[in-house]
């Protein structure tokens, strides 16, 4: 019950199902307190199993699944104990419950693979109660004197072919900031988001068509809790998951509560995505006329160039000639005309400075532009025996610009790379870091191993979604959907047989004799002392004789002989309390014997120089 309660952490109470699960859990806990008889306890165990199942449908991640498994095993052990009515030792109970679970596995596998999936329940963004560090909705580099390196994890991604993407493709976009007030770059409201553009239910068929060709570059993402429903992506993938949608400005939103860990699966899209073609609104050129006069005049000076691409090139040349330095400790900029200060005097800053200054310059030059924040690079992790993955930390956070070029759509420009970077700083260092696995502290190493497991779980287990299942069934049945019922029935029958046959075989196999094993161990222990039973000698007689030879062994040997006789020949239920007591006292006496044996061996060595 405690495990279940622990497993309920992360259940979203706003969900109907979550509320039901919590209610059942509370009910079971209360019932456990007042249950006196067998019926009551049975009810508690059954409720616990039910809650496990409900939780599994809502919290399928690796850690909750492990907790659910533990709770299910405990519930089964309780049920077995209740139904058998015997005082079974807990180890045996646990083993039996695991056996029951193992017997259910084939059937579960059949159901998992074959039974048609329902679409996930309409998921609404949950309350953003938890403040999580990371990206910010407002990008205001001027107020940040020193960029604090936050090393907490942000997201992980595994690729279908287990190869890291090339460095220039490691820009993982999350938020798009379009509103500029002269100082801050703000993000559009989530509620303003339009209808799903790409990757919604409508494009499922298209995404499925690409399944075979692009399976090699499948991406499985695991995003840590954040303040946004927007999740990292590469800007060029699609998904069949109806909970994922690409907003017009190019954010990928996962319609699940952002306060929990989220996993999703992306597939590369063959064509350019709609957000890149989405023409800019008036917002993309708006620039407060009162702020940053020097910036405005510089930008307008490029406005005469006819080709927007030439304006971008001019800006680039200007930056590169300006001896800008990339520095995470630039000092705060003044409240007014902060970007002027940065561009013309300080010339030191980090990605936020460069992205916002460049985007503002482009707007002044008449090129629609905006700031995108997300992650750059990441660390390629190869866990022991697990699937390798790219690890993104908050310290990998980055900001860059996007400009609208007619005929090309939105193009990524990263002005930070134009600055000369100090060692181990800046985007160049970040991409270089990403290329090689890093040796971290032991804790970091452990964490990465766990994440490796977690990734594997997400990849092979959680990502078997409706589209994958449909592809599998399509391959299996070739469109004869009427045969699905037959296949499910046949599969269930096979699963049942697979569960029952080992059970039967087990029953026919003779049980391993614990007492005989213990006896063999005792004889083995005495042999080095030159103590061997004589022909036809009983254990009591042998032990007595041995005790005569080595008096230090007398007491434990007497205990062991009596104990063995009791276990082997007395009328007792082999699972009963008396048998357990005898086994316990055997263990204790054997421990004493081992201690006494050491001194006996010493004595033997002293006698035989």
């Amino acid at each position: 019950m405690a495990a279940l309660t622990a497993g309920s952490v992360g259940l979203d109470p706003t969900w109907l199902l979550g509320a039901l699960t919590l209610a059942l859990l509370v009910l079971a806990a209360l019932k456990l307190m007042e249950a006196r008889d067998r019926g009551g306890r049975r009810l508690v165990a059954l409720l616990q199993l039910l809650v496990c199942g409900l939780q599994a449908s809502q919290l399928p991640d690796l850690l909750p699944s492990l907790v659910q498994l533990l709770a299910a095993v405990l519930a089964l052990a309780g049920l077995l104990q209740l139904e058998s009515g015997l005082a079974t030792p807990w180890r045996l109970l646990l083993r039996q419950s695991l056996q029951v679970l193992a017997a259910a596995l084939p059937m579960a596998l059949v159901l998992f693979l074959l039974v048609p999936r329902l679409d996930p329940f309409a998921a609404l963004p949950g309350p953003s109660a938890r403040a999580v560090t990371g990206l910010s909705a407002d990008l205001d580099p001027g107020t940040i004197a020193t960029l604090v390196e936050d090393d907490s994890p942000a997201a992980r991604v595994a690729f279908g072919d287990d190869r890291p993407p090339p460095p220039e493709r490691r820009y993982w976009r999350v938020l798009v900031h379009e509103r500029f007030d002269g100082r801050r770059w703000q993000r559009g409201d989530e509620e303003e988001a339009g209808p799903p553009e790409v990757g919604g239910a409508g494009s499922r068929a298209a995404a499925m068509g690409e399944l075979e060709s692009a399976a090699g570059r499948d991406q499985v993402w695991l995003a840590e809790p954040s303040r946004f429903t927007a999740v990292p992506w590469d800007g060029r993938s699609g998904s069949a998951d109806p909970r994922l949608r690409v907003e017009p400005q190019g954010e990928l939103r996962l319609l699940r509560p952002a306060i929990e860990r989220r996993s999703y699966r992306l597939r590369p899209a063959a064509t350019a995505l709609a957000w890149q073609e989405q023409p800019p609104g008036p917002e993309a050129l708006s620039l407060p006329a009162a702020a940053n006069p020097r910036l405005l005049s510089l930008g307008r000076s490029w406005g005469g160039l006819a080709d927007p691409a030439a304006r971008v090139a001019a800006a680039r040349a200007w930056f590169q000639a300006g001896e800008f330095r990339y520095d995470t400790r630039p000092g705060a900029l003044p409240e007014r005309d902060g970007l002027d200060m940065f561009l013309f005097e300080q010339r030191e800053g980090f990605c936020g400075h460069y992205a916002s200054a460049f985007s503002a310059l482009m707007r002044a030059a008449g090129v629609p532009s905006r700031v995108v924040s997300g992650y750059l690079g990441g660390t390629w992790v190869v866990p022991v025996g697990g699937a390798s993955f790219l690890e993104l930390r908050q310290s990998d956070a980055h900001a860059w610009s996007e400009v609208w070029l007619p005929g090309q759509g939105w193009q990524r420009i990263d002005p930070s790379v134009w600055a000369t970077a100090a060692a181990e700083q800046g985007p160049a260092a970040a991409t270089a870091r990403a290329g090689r696995p890093q040796a971290g502290s032991g804790w970091r190493w452990l964490q990465r191993q766990w994440w490796g497991l977690d990734m594997a779980w997400s990849r092979w287990w959680l990502s078997f979604d409706r589209s994958r299942q449909e592809a599998l069934l399509e391959g299996l049945l070739g469109g004869r959907s009427w045969a699905l019922g037959l296949v499910i029935l046949a599969g269930m029958a096979l699963g049942l047989i697979a569960a029952l046959v080992p059970w039967q075989l087990r029953r026919q196999r003779p049980r391993r004799d614990r007492v005989a094993r213990d006896l063999a161990e005792l004889l083995h222990l005495l042999r080095p002392l030159g103590l061997e039973p004589e022909p036809g000698e009983t254990l009591e007689a042998f032990c007595q004789r041995a005790a005569g030879i080595h008096p230090v062994l007398a007491a434990p040997l007497r205990h062991l002989a009596g104990c063995h006789t009791q276990r082997r020949f007395a009328a007792a239920d082999p699972q009963g309390a008396a048998a357990r007591q005898a086994a316990d006292s055997w263990r204790r006496a054997l421990h004493q014997l081992k201690q006494a044996r050491r001194s006996a061996i010493r004595q033997v060595r002293e006698c035989v120089p």
Binding site: L519, P535, R568
Partner: protein
């Protein structure tokens, strides 16, 4: 019902220094078997028999077997009752609870056979009428191993009917010293430790003693070893293995346990099987058999 130690000690005070033999005899009584005492004269065979009978307050009769003893002398005869003019059964000495058949090898085979049949069936037939023997019923036969002239030794097939064969042997020096200095208790002064009904309930308890599968395996291995073709001596019959189990059960009860162990089997083994393996032997074959079978299991 007195404790075991009292029971054994009671007989032991009569029969000094023979504790093991006394226990075996008691086990034989509890197992419901018959006992063959084979020893030199004057070693206390009769005393043991009478002490056994007295310890449970059993009716005791003694018959000295001679070559002219007839079966009817044992079973009893139908006599004409002059008062009623009809025949009335006059029970013989067989109708007791403990019968001491002294020097059984002196009697003719015919008489021996009548005794052994009565022992096996628990009843006697006289002139076509069957008469039940009293219960409990135990025969303690003695056989003098020295006098071979004019005797008919029991055939092997009949020896099988005795659960145990014991020999008391000479007492230890100290025991004999105590005997000579008059420390032995007089039989007449012996107090019964229990009633015949106690013996019957003890016999029931005996039958309930737990024999685990491992123990039964041990007994089966012993019996199987005796039946191996290369082994000397007669193979043990199922009656022998049954008797072995019964005696081991009784022995385990005497050890104040409620289950039987290989040690119990070994304790009674020689007494139960030696006379079946080798009528003239003195325990050598049974010991070899015990050593041939692993008792640690």
């Amino acid at each position: 019902m007195a404790a075991w130690t009292d029971l054994v000690a009671g007989i032991d005070r009569v029969l000094l220094g023979k504790e093991h033999a006394v226990r075996l005899a008691l086990a034989c009584l509890l197992a419901g078997g018959h006992l063959l005492l084979e020893d030199l004269p004057g070693t206390g065979k009769t005393t043991l028999a009478e002490a056994l009978a007295r310890s449970f307050g059993l009716a005791f009769k003694r018959v000295s077997f001679t070559s002219d003893l007839l079966p009817a002398d044992l079973t009893g005869i139908n006599v004409l009752d002059p008062a009623t003019g009809s025949f009335r059964f006059q029970p013989g000495p067989l109708f007791s609870q403990v019968l001491l058949a002294d020097e059984i090898n002196r009697a003719s085979p015919r008489t021996q056979s009548a005794l052994l049949e009565a022992m096996a069936a628990g009843r006697v037939s006289v002139d076509g009428t069957s008469h039940e023997l009293p219960s409990p019923f135990m025969v303690i036969a003695t056989q003098n191993s020295l006098d071979q002239v004019g005797t008919s030794p029991l055939p092997e097939s009949q020896l099988d009917r005795f659960l145990m064969r014991l020999s008391l042997g000479f007492p230890e020096r100290e025991a004999e010293r105590a005997l000579l200095s008059g420390q032995a208790l007089d039989l007449g002064a012996m107090v019964a430790a229990g009633q015949p009904a106690d013996l019957l309930s003890l016999r029931r308890r005996c039958r309930r003693q737990h024999c685990s599968a491992a123990l039964i395996d041990y007994v089966l291995d012993l019996v199987a070893a005796s039946r191996a073709p290369e082994r000397p001596g007669a193979p043990l019959s199922p009656r022998a293995s049954q008797g072995l189990m019964a005696a081991a059960r009784a022995w385990s009860l005497l050890q104040e346990r409620d289950f039987v162990t290989p040690a119990d089997v070994q304790a009674v083994f020689a007494a139960v099987v030696e006379h079946r393996l080798d009528p003239a032997g003195r325990g050598q074959l049974s010991r070899a058999l015990l050593e041939a079978v692993d008792a640690i299991r």
